[in-house]
Amino acid sequence: MWHNVIAVIRREYLQRVRSKWFIAATVAGPLLMTAITVLPAWLAIQGERDEFRVAIVDGTDVLYERLAPRLESGGFEVEEIRWHADVVTALRERANEGDLGGFIMVDELTLETGEAMYYSMDVPSGLRRVTVQTSIARTALEYQLEQRGVDAEGLMGGGVLEIEVISEAGSDITEVEFGLAYIGAFFLYMTILLYAVAVMRATLEEKTSRIVEVIISAMKPWELMLGKIMGVCAVSLTQMAIWISASVALFAGALPMIIAARPELANLESIREILPGIGLIALFVGFFLLGFLMYSGLYAAVGAMCNTDEEAQQAQFPMIILMVVPIVMVMPVIQEPNTPMAVWLSLFPLFSPILMWARVAGGGVPSWQVFLSFVLMALMIWVIAWVAGRIYKVGILMSGKRPTLPELWRWVREA
């Protein structure tokens, strides 16, 4: 009997892993996630590339050499202009000819108060304004501190702040944790749905192409269903392994560049802080695996009871709702992970993969709750396998109209 299951798993696995879709999804998945999170910021900057050529009119003789590198690291292209009587008129003309995006004037007053003048061709974005403003203020501050013999570098480097959380509920959440919780929850949602739907489509295809008759005459329906789900599962784990090892390799390769750009990250401790730990990755895979097993069972049953793609689209509606509810709740749950509602919602097995993950990645969840959620999910898988297996057994060979709920119930009882 396992001979059959293994044959089905191998067929499903090889067929999928070798397909162009798998390769495309493996490459496109992380790109898409990156695009969703990084692209808006990048676009905002990219949109004003032309405006980044600025001239600096320095009335102090000391500011330009300090200000230029700061602006350059912020993406500006700078050029120094000596102050003269007609400098504003001259630079205005150059800017209007398209030669400059704008110019900045600094003088003795700037050294005292940080005030400066920025003539710009357009209204600068918030990011650009802040970059220019803080660069000038920091430069002035640094100059003043040096004049008084203070160690400017340590203070200007941002200082060191050690943090210890003392509240017992511990709902403090760092940006990194928030990102992990939020992006991770979305990623779980997307991957679970993607692969569960793949099981449904495969089932539907076997049913409509009628090859299922040949297969069912050689094995039991549950063998086919199990093999199908396991095969798709193996594909998804392969894909995740590729993603995780690619990220590790990319990060290792990019590390020298990150350190070069932000020298304060050079020690290991601070790097570890921004990386998810092995334990967290394992939990992520665990939530995916159990979530996939629950939903793929449901989706296999849907595929078995339908005859066309359109029917399946409609019939999968309840599952979509089950997936969307936790996604809607992710934000409040991350922010307040220990309210009774957050606890109960995240313990409901069909919501656990997304909501319990969000709480765990956000930090501060008692480990017994995590453990309990895994036990509940395992129980749920058992229940779903029992019910879905019966629906599958009857539905896979049934043609004609989609069963109504009472009919489904009869299938479950009589199968």
């Binding site: 044959a7 067929r11 069912i216 005459s217 050689a218």
Partner: protein, 327 residues
Amino acid sequence: MRDDGFALRLSGVSKRFGKHTAVDCLDFEVPRGVICGLLGPNGSGKTTSIRMIMGILGPDEGTVSLFGEDPDAVRRTKVGYLPEERGVYKKMRCLELITFLGEIRGLRRGEARRRGGAWLDRLGLPEWADKKVEDLSKGMQQKIQFIGTVIHEPELLILDEPFSGLDPINQDVLEEIVRDYHAQGTTIVFSTHLMDQAERLCERVCLISNSRKVLDGDLKEIKAAERRGVVAVEFEGPDTWIQGPEVDRIERKDDGLHLILKDGQDHQPILNRAVAAGVRVLRFDLIEPRLHEIFVRHAGDGVVGDAGVPEGRGSVYSGRFVRSGGD
């Protein structure tokens, strides 16, 4: 395990879908090593019967046994099944699909692959081994599926409408393969409504109409039982001898005169009269009823509840029926 010499036996098998009875109390058996045709019009219950044999549907009443055993125990390895609605994994490569179908029938992977390759060579498709199934023509896809049906060398082949959708050349190829398997001792059961094919191939037939069996048994015996009644004659000389007490009426046909006998009458006295009359007889032929005629006779008028061979209704072969060649 007890082996009763039958590859397949259905006892009192019924299947209902809601109010509709698809198969009604079907008794039917196939001795080992025989080619048996399951004949009947569309919707008569052939495919439902085959699905019950294959365990795809469970009978509401009655039992199915294969080789005298519980069908679930032997079906996987001893039976090969070609369903009416041809299904393949379109995205798979041909040889892989065949290998997979062999594997789920209990072959080891390497063995399935080797046999699949040999089969592709035999059917002249070796260059298609690594092509995707969807790139093949319909006829070729059917060949691939047929290979998948026989890859595990089953002792019993169940083919549901195997010839439908094949061009004449491929029908001949398939017929040849079926004969080969028969020669090796494989039992073959196939359903069809193509009477020509059934007549050429079958040793036994089972005729189903309106969900019930109306006739089954050895094809030669059935034909012999149905044969009485028509004599085709061609001759040179006077025709006085053809009239007699046993002749009901005479019809002129393309192949000479047909003498239609009265019920239960023998043809020998006519021949004796012909000899006595000194006529030169070119042809004196007991017309065998074509399977098509038997089929139409039993199924066509929707005979229900009249199982068995009706006795001596010689007058039915009066040319009302379309010759089977036109099918």
